[in-house]
């Protein structure tokens, strides 16, 4: 570095052709190497003198633009124990501001309103999927009380988390102008605490769901058939499925992966700076927001198909029992096993 300063002062390579400059650079590099070898023995201080012979205090000085070109954040030593304070300047804060105020607003609005529009269109054009053979009146047991509890624990906490989370991003656009700043602030304060504490219920629900249903959600060959047959949306075709069809498996895996992602990033935000620095916090927020928006959109589709979109589907999670004909149409392989299981003990009981 000192060698460059020396030649720079001596007239340097400015104003020459690019070929000449590159030749000069090669020579400079060689020269610098030789110089450094010599400089090991001779004092290099001589290079830092100002033209008048006085020590030049800026010869090795730092400059913020140079530092910011080298690194995205200028960090230094501080006299206080708060390590966060050692970051002097991080222009990325303005980048994160742009993500949060522009990118996220557009992305969130397009994904969520887009999903609502698609589902609304499906309801208006396709309508609810009826049971072709009609209700049989006979019921088959599908989910036990604990399974339903786990599902609804996750579901209710998800809705609470979704609404309170969306409030942080969209509340000031949609709700603040309606109810005023003070009321909105009180509401958001409560929403923040609800969001923080409900997260634990969501994680417990998610763990239970995964523990109970993982083995039935492992992708199998039948899922390809199910997809090929139009996934039960085409009435003329029959889509075969076990306990969970490929669509439900997709919801399971989305919930598992997105749930882990939002929980991990969310706990980083809930315990700020425990495990990461300012960059990590910004990334955690971006991951949390983007995954959460996609998760909300996916769950909107799940809610639609489980309620309005399909006759007989809600009962599975409502009473835990489904209509025999519904089970025949949507989960034939599971129904076969289930009936066999139900008849087995009955047969052995009558044999006694």
């Amino acid at each position: 570095m000192t060698a460059c300063t020396a030649t720079g002062r001596a007239g340097g390579p400015r104003g020459k052709s690019s070929l000449a400059i590159s030749l000069v650079r090669i020579r400079l590099a060689l020269g610098a190497l030789i110089f450094l070898a010599i400089a090991g023995t001779a004092p290099a201080i001589a290079q830092q003198l100002a033209p008048d012979g006085a020590p030049n205090p800026t010869a090795s000085g730092v400059n913020q633009q140079t530092l910011l070109r080298e690194e995205p954040r200028i960090t230094g030593y501080i006299d206080i124990p708060d390590t966060r304070a050692s970051v002097l300047i991080q222009p990325a804060g303005r980048t994160w501001d742009h993500f949060h105020e522009v990118t996220l607003h557009w992305f969130g609005a397009i994904v969520i309103i887009g999903m609502i529009a698609v589902l609304g269109g499906a309801y208006l054009i396709v309508g609810p999927l009826r049971i072709s053979a009609g209700q049989s009146g006979k019921k088959v047991h599908r989910f036990n009380a604990f399974e339903r509890f786990s599902h609804w624990l996750t579901a209710v906490s998800f809705v609470v988390l979704g609404l309170t989370g969306l409030n942080i991003t969209f509340g000031k656009i949609l709700l603040l102008p309606v109810i005023g700043k003070d009321a909105f602030s009180s509401l958001s304060q409560a929403a923040k605490y609800m969001h923080n504490f409900t997260s634990f219920a969501f994680v417990i629900g998610l763990v239970l769901i995964v523990a109970m249903w993982l083995k039935d959600n492992i992708p199998r060959k039948v899922d390809i058939d199910w997809l090929r047959q139009g996934g039960g949306f085409i009435k003329s075709k029959h889509a075969p499925a076990g306990r969970f069809n490929a669509g439900e498996k997709a919801v399971f895996w989305i919930a598992l992966l997105a749930g882990v992602a939002v929980a991990a990033s969310g706990y980083m935000l809930l315990f700020p700076f425990y495990v990461t620095n300012i960059l990590g916090m910004q990334i955690a927020q971006v991951v949390h927001a983007v995954i959460a928006v996609l998760f909300v959109a996916a769950i909107l589709a799940h809610i639609y198909i489980g309620t309005l979109g399909m006759e007989g589907a809600f009962e599975a999670m409502g009473t835990g029992e489904v209509d025999l004909n519904w089970a025949k149409e949507h989960h034939d392989l599971w129904l076969r096993d289930q009936l066999a299981k139900e008849h087995q003990p009955a047969a052995s009981a009558s044999a006694d």
Partner: protein, 200 residues
């Protein structure tokens, strides 16, 4: 109307931390809250520079933009104030702030944050409290600005490294210094905060 800014001349800063101490004393800032701090770059190496940093009272302040409850706002003097009654302690202003200015008292379990606290340019608070009142002091600290005075940190600076006041005036002072002594490491943070630098 004057546009209030801070400028730290790193060639003059001696890392004495008098600015941080003056701030704490003037505003009776609680433990763990550091509205102003001194960061030393290249500590112990050639080219070491210390810079005193607090809220720069940015143009187009990113903290105000990201605030989910819109409790942060710039005044007509360009001072960025906030209303602690409305703050929900989400911490977003800290992620957006290029200078690490927002501070949060730890109030409860986990990492839960209390109402944000930051440099007010010694200009009181952005809440409904009467300017110069005891209620305002308790919540936000001193309101020297209302009395026509500049922030205590800059006023206390023994080497006049930290300058506060009208951006044009302090920019001119810095420019003259650089011209006279022949060097300067730049107006730290200005480009990020105000979208402009002091051209020398």
């Amino acid at each position: 109307m004057a546009r209030m800014k801070f400028l730290c001349d790193a060639e003059r800063c001696i890392d004495c931390n008098a600015c941080a101490t003056a701030c704490k004393n003037e505003n009776e800032v609680p433990w763990g809250i550091n509205r102003r701090r001194v960061v030393t770059i290249n500590d112990g190496e050639p080219g070491e520079r210390s810079v005193s940093m607090a809220c720069m009272h940015c143009t187009d302040p990113p903290c105000a933009a990201v605030c989910p409850v819109e409790c942060i706002f710039p005044t007509e003097d360009g001072i960025v104030l906030h209303n602690k009654d409305q703050c929900i302690g989400c911490g977003y202003c800290f992620y957006a702030c290029p200078f690490g200015a927002p501070q949060y008292p730890r109030v409860s379990d986990f990492g839960s944050r209390g109402k944000m606290d930051k440099c007010t340019y010694c200009a009181g608070g952005g809440g409904p409290e009467a300017p110069g009142s005891a209620a305002e002091f308790a919540k936000y600290g001193s309101n020297r600005f209302g009395e026509g005075k500049l922030p205590m940190c800059a006023e206390m600076c023994s080497t006049k490294s930290l300058l506060a006041g009208d951006g044009d005036v302090i920019g001119q002072i810095y420019k003259e210094r650089v011209v006279q002594r022949g060097y300067g490491s730049g107006s730290w943070g200005w480009l990020t905060a105000y979208h402009e630098d002091v051209e020398v």
